[in-house]
């Protein structure tokens, strides 16, 4: 697909949108995974949700400015916008990720190797 994926500029990232994106545990699981392991294909998150739901969740994160998504052939690659988020809302991402790490109900992040 060549359809452009819209991303908010760093200075336009909105606190309400970021909190709204991060309030969902599946979205926090995705963010935690790309935070800890670097950029990932969307298909890496299939243990968290169905493909349709993943497409939705990744789009919510992208539209809020939490992740950047690019196409690589047929695959979508998801990367965390950490520097931009940290610059705009210092400490917010780490606080949420620390909370996510301690949440036993979060979808498992690391697939068996």
């Amino acid at each position: 697909m060549s359809k452009a994926l819209l991303h908010p500029d760093a200075e336009a990232i909105d606190l309400s949108a970021v909190l709204d994106a991060l309030r969902d545990p599946i979205r926090r699981a995705i963010v935690l995974m790309v935070s800890e392991e670097g950029e990932k294909r969307c298909s890496s998150f299939l243990h968290c949700a169905t493909k349709t739901n993943l497409t939705y969740h990744v789009a919510r994160l992208r539209e809020a400015g939490v992740v950047r998504v690019r196409a690589e052939g047929a695959a979508r690659i998801v990367a965390l916008r950490r520097e931009e988020l940290d610059a705009r809302f210092p400490g917010l991402l780490d606080a949420v990720l620390n909370g996510a790490r301690q949440d036993p109900s979060l979808p498992r992040l690391a697939e068996p190797a």
Copy 2:
């Protein structure tokens, strides 16, 4: 009213619920106000929203564990659960409040004296 107001125990405060509570700018304005000025009557927030909407927003904050509400005669007094929130999700509240402070669209907090 003598109806008991339910509050989650500190250890039961849920990250999804807290982020959901804080994603609304009116609720962030309320939290910022009690953070900076100490406990407040619900009526102190009437510049932010109608009475009906305030009742709803304060209940959302209370149910999420962000504020504690008590009756004092006919008035409802709202206090921030800062220590419990900071213990459970270190840095989260400050990061959100710092973002709120920089938001020019947030309802005005300080009433003219």
